[in-house]
């Protein structure tokens, strides 16, 4: 899901999660009401990173995604087989995202890319059918953006999970996209990346002349949108897209 800041991308995710009622129209998520199928959805909210004072291991953060919403204390793994199963499930997810080396360190001490991998593991640990990622590449450097995008693609194929990703920069993920929804000016266009991200389509959506330029390395640049373009550092102000 692409579009400028404030176009309603994160709001749509809140609707899918059932956290926000619709003021009009209907929404069906995994064959039911939004919110009814919450157990089948993994969610990675848009965020700034955990700060360095967060003294909780990455492994615990993943585990909270599995059974953190249950009341009562977990039994130690030595006493209960379900606790052993939970631990091996957490290990499996940590391995899937390639975080074995640092999963046992306090999460606040890890880099943004390392934290993001653990958070993706957390969102996946219950085996969801749908994975909602809100700006997962935000606050990562370029090489980590590419690596995390490739990881998400691999998860999508290996785990059979539908991934719905909000992004404000299409380039790091362009190669992996099946469908694109572009939000602007209170409307949206949906289609394959090449259908949607082109001058005439976006000009119709914005109601203003918009051009899409292609660089020699295949990167796309959208110019002439009515709002100022969303630069990477703009996103750290905490505004929701």
């Amino acid at each position: 899901m692409l579009g400028s800041n404030g176009a309603g991308k994160s709001t749509l995710l809140d609707v899918v999660l059932g956290l926000l009622p619709l003021s009009g129209g209907t929404a069906t998520v995994l064959g039911g009401h939004p919110g009814a199928g919450r157990a089948g959805i993994g969610y990675l909210p848009q965020r700034r990173t955990f700060d360095s004072g967060t003294r909780i291991r990455g492994r615990e953060v993943v585990r909270l995604g599995l059974d953190g919403s249950r009341w009562g204390l977990p039994l130690p793994a030595a006493l209960s087989s379900s606790a052993r199963a939970a631990r091996s499930r957490v290990d499996e997810m940590i391995e899937l995202v390639g975080a074995e080396r640092y999963a046992s360190r306090p999460i606040g001490e890890l880099s943004g890319g390392e934290q993001q991998r653990l958070l993706i593991a957390q969102a996946l640990v219950r085996g969801p059918r749908l994975l909602l990622l809100d700006e997962p590449l935000d606050s990562l450097d370029l090489s980590n953006q590419g690596a995390v995008a490739a990881l998400v693609q691999r998860i999508c194929e290996c785990e059979g999970v539908t991934v719905l990703m909000v992004a404000h920069d299409v380039n790091p993920i362009l190669a992996y996209l099946d469908r694109v929804v572009y939000f602007a000016a209170g409307a949206a266009v949906e289609g394959t990346p090449r259908e949607v991200i082109q001058g005439p389509t976006l000009s119709r959506l914005y109601g203003a002349p918009v051009e899409v330029l292609e660089a020699s390395d295949g990167r796309l640049v959208v110019v002439g949108t009515p709002e100022p373009p969303a630069h990477h550092h703009d996103r750290h102000g905490g505004a929701r897209g």
């Binding site: 969610y43 909210p45 953060v61 909270l64």
Partner: protein
């Protein structure tokens, strides 16, 4: 507050016998034990949730409560628990779960704290400004605890810890990762409020023993030390409780055999442990940097 000076014999058994000959000392040890367990466990969550300032404000509101209770002739406990309960309600109203951001929250909490201190001073002056009572309210009355107080503390601590066992895991989730917890149907606002009430109970119970200003020796320092030592929740809480117990017991014992007050020993001991752990961390980190290839990993699996 009086301190006894007894002769230390260097024989732990005789020393313990000497101490436990005095009923007030037995009560102090029991009360200290109960309060240390409760403060150690609840304090760990408080430090994790970065609500130290909120906890401090609850401790400060305990002071006007106790002063008001003294003034109108109610039991001190009524003042402590009443004021801390009211403080928790006010904090929940201005808190981040009520919609304001962190900066607003800490400013509002600070305002509440200043008002609480002023109010407490007013009640002390109204009461006649007896200095000994002011000192006990601020710095504790370890040695004046009755058996009835010990029993009341035991029930309060048992109830608070039972609630903490039930809500502990979702509370951890909500504290570490609020947005994801909310999306996973964890009632984060209700938990935030419930935790403030637990914190208020712990603060009121601790303030009754250590006084309003020394609450933190048991509530913050052991928990902060434990979080430096481990990033695992279970062992972290156990270490926090163990440290709170150790400084309470050792502090009471030293105070019994020395002319200086309990509050001083308990705070100094916990401060000493915290400083030692921070220094130790620094040395470990230096050593890890000095050895090429070594990894500064405090938490091996």
């Amino acid at each position: 507050m009086t301190s006894l000076v007894a002769a230390l014999s260097l024989n732990p058994v005789t020393d313990l016998e000497q101490m436990t000959e005095y009923p007030f000392m037995v009560n102090a040890l029991w009360a200290g034990t109960i309060v240390a367990v409760m403060a150690g466990a609840i304090g760990w969550f408080m430090v994790l949730r970065r609500q130290t300032f909120a906890g401090h404000t609850l401790a400060v509101t305990a002071f006007p409560g106790a002063a008001a209770a003294t003034f109108v002739g109610l039991p001190l406990a009524v003042g402590y628990f009443g004021a801390c309960g009211l403080g928790a309600l006010l904090l929940a109203a201005v808190g981040r779960d009520g919609g304001s951001d962190a900066a607003d929250e800490s400013a509002a909490i600070g305002t509440l704290q200043a008002f609480g201190l002023g109010l407490g001073y007013l009640f002390v002056v109204l009461y006649g400004g007896q200095l000994s009572s002011l000192e006990a309210l601020l710095f504790g009355s370890f040695l004046g605890i009755t058996e009835g107080q010990v029993q009341a503390l035991l029930w309060i601590a048992a109830a608070a810890l039972a609630v903490l066992v039930v809500i502990g895991r979702p509370l951890l989730f909500a504290s570490v990762d609020g947005a994801v917890a909310r999306a996973a149907n964890v009632p984060t606002r209700a938990l935030g409020f419930g935790f403030l009430v637990l914190l208020a109970l712990a603060v009121a119970a601790t303030a009754e023993i250590t006084g309003a200003l020394l609450v933190f020796a048991l509530l913050v320092t052991p928990a902060a030390t434990a979080q430096r030592l481990t990033a695992r929740p279970g062992p972290g809480i156990v270490i926090s409780v163990a440290l709170a117990l150790a400084v309470t017991w050792v502090g009471l014992t030293i105070a019994f055999f020395s002319p200086y007050p309990v509050g001083f020993w308990v705070t100094s001991l916990s401060f000493g442990v915290y400083v030692a752990v921070r220094l130790g961390e620094l040395i470990v980190r230096r050593a890890a940097v000095a050895v090429p290839g070594a990894h500064a990993d405090p938490e091996p699996t």
